[in-house]
């Protein structure tokens, strides 16, 4: 299991979702990916994308300027 970080700052949805989707294709089952974003829309979109594609939402963290969403790659 490896951990990765993806920079999706300044991108508006669905670009953070597309970048997440494309990055996950390169990863192995069980890998952890943290996506750093600025569009609050990711709070609903990345978890929704993860649910319908069989990945697990590990958590989300939000500060004044950025949102970090962490997922575990499913099979």
């Amino acid at each position: 299991m490896s951990e990765y970080e993806l920079d999706a700052r300044r991108l508006l949805c669905p670009m953070p979702v597309i970048k997440t989707q494309n990055k996950v294709k390169e990863l192995a089952v069980g890998d952890i990916l943290s996506v750093i974003c600025t569009d609050p829309g990711v709070l609903s979109d990345i978890p929704a994308w993860a649910r319908i594609n069989g990945h697990e939402l590990v958590g989300s963290y939000e500060n004044d300027t950025e949102i970090t969403i962490t997922i575990r790659v499913g099979s």
């Binding site: 508006l12 949805c13 669905p14 597309i18 600025t38 609050p40 609903s44 929704a48 994308w49």
Partner: protein, 333 residues
């Protein structure tokens, strides 16, 4: 959603493809603004896929889409919307997807089109054009109006029962709403369409102005994003001001500080402004005066304005905000 569920009712497995052109209207774009903060933030394609229990593949077609927008074989609609070429392009991309993912057993493509529902791409005359020019030919099925169209391969092969498809037509959406109710859909996205900024007159005007200002129809993703944000004023042909309309937009424009000259009133609350184009120092006072007009110091005798350019020393000037009558109507894009 209806077209997918009609097929699911026949036991057919469906997956969704959503193409992102950069011009898609999404709640998130509006959610940048403060007054839209309470609006539900969701990507409708993802939301619909989840309701339907299907996988969704979101495909970035921003680069390829430029040719569709710049050179539409079938022309534009009322604004800069190349709807027919757009539909042909997207169905073609779906055909490519079916070929590339043949191992997963995709056999045909469906769309939710209804004859006569849209004035450009969904007419009886244009539906065969989409099928032919996209390369989909007889593997393109429109479940909601299939009975008004010639039989397609999925019907002829018996993969789909034509008797259980529909014959909807026209702009009246009552039959679709009744079917939605029958399927138990209480919420659905964009019932009247309009999911593309290119159909919007204000947006199209800004796009044409951008091209005119640059003397070129080239564009990048940031350009088309910035057309969705702020108040756009072009006081001189060489540059345009993009003035945030509230704190949400100011925050969004902060991300562009390194790419653009920015102007901000610092003695009073006011919007962050970015300068798109080439501004010379002789025009700083004009630009600062306009920007000051949109801040809380608009009635002050003088306000302090900072002009920032990446890699250069910060400039501060004192300026009297331009009175409203001096902000010319023709500057507004």
């Amino acid at each position: 959603m209806l077209a997918v569920r009609v097929l699911q009712e026949q036991g057919i497995e469906v997956e969704g493809i959503n193409f992102y052109t950069g011009f898609c209207v999404e709640g998130h774009t509006h959610a940048i603004r403060n007054h839209d903060k309470d609006k539900q933030k969701r990507n409708n394609a993802l939301w619909a896929a989840e309701q339907l229990g299907i996988k969704l593949h979101i495909v970035d077609v921003i680069e390829e889409y430029k040719d569709v927008l710049l050179n539409p074989k079938h022309g534009y609609g009322a604004n800069m919307n190349p709807c027919l070429d757009c539909k042909i392009f997207m169905v073609n991309k779906a055909v490519e997807w079916v070929k590339d993912n043949h191992k997963d057993g995709f056999d045909f493509i469906i769309t939710g089109e209804v004859i006569g529902q849209r004035p450009m791409s969904q007419r009886k005359q244009t539906m065969p054009i989409v099928a032919k020019e996209s390369g989909a030919d007889d593997i393109l099925l429109r479940p909601l109006c299939a009975k008004n169209l010639p039989e397609t391969r999925p019907e002829l092969e018996g993969w789909v029962d034509r008797d259980k498809l529909y014959d909807f037509s026209g702009r009246n959406r009552k039959p679709q709403m009744a079917l939605a109710e029958q399927f138990g859909f209480t919420d659905y996205a964009s019932p009247a369409g309009g999911c593309c900024f290119l159909t919007d007159k204000n947006y199209s005007d800004k796009l044409v102005d951008l091209w005119k200002g640059r003397g070129s129809r080239e564009y990048e993703m940031d350009d088309i994003m910035l057309l969705k944000v702020g108040r756009h004023l072009r006081p001189k042909p060489e540059f345009k001001l993009i003035i945030a309309r509230d704190a949400g937009e100011s925050k969004f424009l902060e991300g562009y500080r390194k790419q653009f000259v920015t102007i901000q009133v610092v003695s009073h609350n006011g919007p962050l402004t970015i300068v798109d184009g080439d501004i010379c120092s002789d025009d700083f006072e004009l630009a600062a005066g306009i920007v000051a007009r949109y801040g809380q110091g608009r009635d002050a005798e003088q306000v302090e304005v900072q002009i920032s350019e990446s890699g250069k020393e910060l400039q501060t000037i004192m300026i009297k905000p331009l009175p409203s009558e001096k902000v010319l109507e023709e500057w507004h894009v």
